[in-house]
Amino acid sequence: MTEAKVETRRISIDPITRLEGHGRIEIFLNAEGDVENAYFQVPELRGFEKFCEGRPVETLPVITARICGVCPEAHHMCSTKALDAVFKVDPPSAAKKLRELLYSAFFVADHATHFYALGGPDFVVGPDAPAAERNIVGVIGKVGMEIGGQVLSALAATHEVVAMLGGKYIHPTCGVPGGISKGLTEEERAKVEEIAKAAIEFGKLTIKIVDDVVLANKAYVDMILSDTFAHQTYYMGLVDENNHVNFYDGKLRVVDQQGKEVAKFPGSDYLDYIGEHVEPWSYLKFPFLKKVGWNGLTDGPSSGIYRVAPLARLNAADGMATPLAQAEYERFYSTLGGKPVHATLATHWARVVELVYAAERLLELSQDPEITSTNIRTIPTETPGEGVGVVEAPRGVLIHHYWADENALAKKVNLIVGTGHNNGAIAMSINKAAKGLIKKGTVVTDGLLNTIEMAFRAYDPCLACATHSLPGQMPLIVSIYDSQGNLVQRLRRD
């Protein structure tokens, strides 16, 4: 009876009782005062499928980019690729390169933002630093104003590339089935080349900060490699024909806990490989590998839980396609004890490896003789149907699946986003961190809470609700319940 009562309390966290657009961590203690379970809840956005139904399918790249203000470029790109499939059209090679060029610039900006503004403060300023200092202002205070200036310049420059091609600041509108609506003039190309060179220098600087601030500090390295932040999961990522990481195109490759390939498939076959488990306490589904099966929120070879995003991409690939990024990739694994790396917090370093790759790829594409070609569109002639688009978003594999009728109106839409794939892993990470850090009689402090938050911050979870809630951030509520289900502590972090 008591158990049933506790169960009721757990599932009572529903949208009706939710106050605002908060992220919530619910921690349940047992009779001994240890952590029994911990859950992460995110607000649910409702009615997206219905909103899309009946609309001209070619408007979806603009609509899906509006789902959130965080990664509109990723949705736009994925949606555009889904339209290529819906209209059965193959874009000219120059169009693919232009799309990838825009996408590489976006990755530089997005990864830089995360490293300096979000994940970085934990390491650069320190996990125990007061919350008021643990932010980008604190990071710049620590590493110097000059670097602050470089961060802002790099962000502004890469946004300029996105705007140059995307046609619109923030929300790109350039993707069309069969290509891209705008090309690059020689003058613009030269500008992109210059920006790419600066981005590579910025990447090198960021590697140096990883070295000086994180790797040189034994306490940080020990924390990164500690069991509290590790899970032995499968990993999924998009790879090119050489099994190198690719953000724009390729096949989805899955490796096991030893780094051995267990699946490799085109994105259009995703339903054969990915199942979605539903838990009563979460709005978000839990994707898992169908061939392994759902075995609860556990890791190991018998659990179908897999991870996506920077660490997973590096684990799922055999290397990086550009020289500096490849060198850093090798150093990443030699420093962290070989492949694959299961340490969730290593994701921050993996993100920097990818930042360097994105900058190098941006330069390669800007120097490609075909990049100023005006042959950037193949006009669709087939009757539209069903199509799947896949890209790597900064937060992991992004899948858009559309069904259109013969008049190109959307009949059905299915999206699996990066944070969705990682949902099971995020839940496990928070649970494990809470269990490792909160013991009988522990006083729950701000620093301790931050350490638990670090477990999910590494995934850079995309909670669309957080795009612009007024202070521009998502407040977090941590609630701690005793074994009877009574609320014993609630901490609000704004």
């Binding site: 949208p15 605002e20 657009g21 992220g23 607000p43 649910e44 956005l45 409702r46 009615g47 219905k50 909103f51 609509i63 509006r66 959130c68 203000g69 965080v70 509109p72 933002t113 995360h114 503004a117 979000l118 403060p121 919350a131 008021a132 643990r134 932010n135 980008i136 202002v137 710049i140 104003m145 602050g148 200036g149 802002l152 962000l155 502004a156 946004h159 600041y169 923030i170 929300h171 938050e453 999910f456 911050r457 850079d460 979870p461 995309c462 909670l463 609700c465 957080a466 795009t467 612009h468 809630s469 007024l470 202070p471 521009g472 951030q473 998502m474 407040p475 977090l476 972090r493 704004d494």
Partner: protein, 151 residues
């Protein structure tokens, strides 16, 4: 004096669009020379990029607060600047302003920030809830009263 009216929000998320709509109406009231209107769905650093180069800015956004739908508050930027970042993405507007000042960026001397209380910011849709639709003209008048016409 150059003024920016910046509406923040998602145009396809029901009441989330209230800041955008209010900004548009405010622009219609005040508009003209030296006043620009920008509608965006961004936060933090990108907001600062948008604000750069103006003498004055009016920022209008939305907070979900079912109990006070239709009310509007003016927020204190100093208070915002002291809020810490726990966001999964982007940084807060206040923190971004602090950073911009630290870096010597041209941030407007006067920034008025308004929050409109909304009923539903989590259902996809292109219209505001009836309660907020009704309240919008009053909200805009209330904001306009704070903002003298640019001279």
């Amino acid at each position: 004096m150059r003024t920016l009216i910046l509406g923040l929000g998602n145009p396809i998320l029901s009441d989330d669009a209230a800041g955008l709509q209010a900004a548009r109406r405010l622009y219609d009231l005040l508009g003209g020379k030296d006043v620009d209107l920008v509608e965006a769905a961004v936060a933090g650093l990108q907001t600062v990029q948008l604000l750069s180069g103006y003498d004055r800015a009016v920022v209008i956004d939305v907070v979900q607060d079912e109990a006070r739908v239709g009310e509007v508050w003016r927020l204190d930027t100093e208070e915002l600047e002291n809020v810490s970042a726990t966001s999964s993405h982007g940084i807060g507007l206040g923190q971004a302003l602090r950073l911009a000042r630290l870096m010597g960026l041209p941030v407007p001397g006067q920034i008025l920030i308004y929050a409109i209380a909304a009923a539903d910011t989590q259902t996809f849709g292109e219209t505001l809830t009836p309660q907020l639709t009704k309240a919008l003209p009053t909200i805009v008048r209330r904001i306009a009263a704070d903002v003298p016409h640019p001279s």
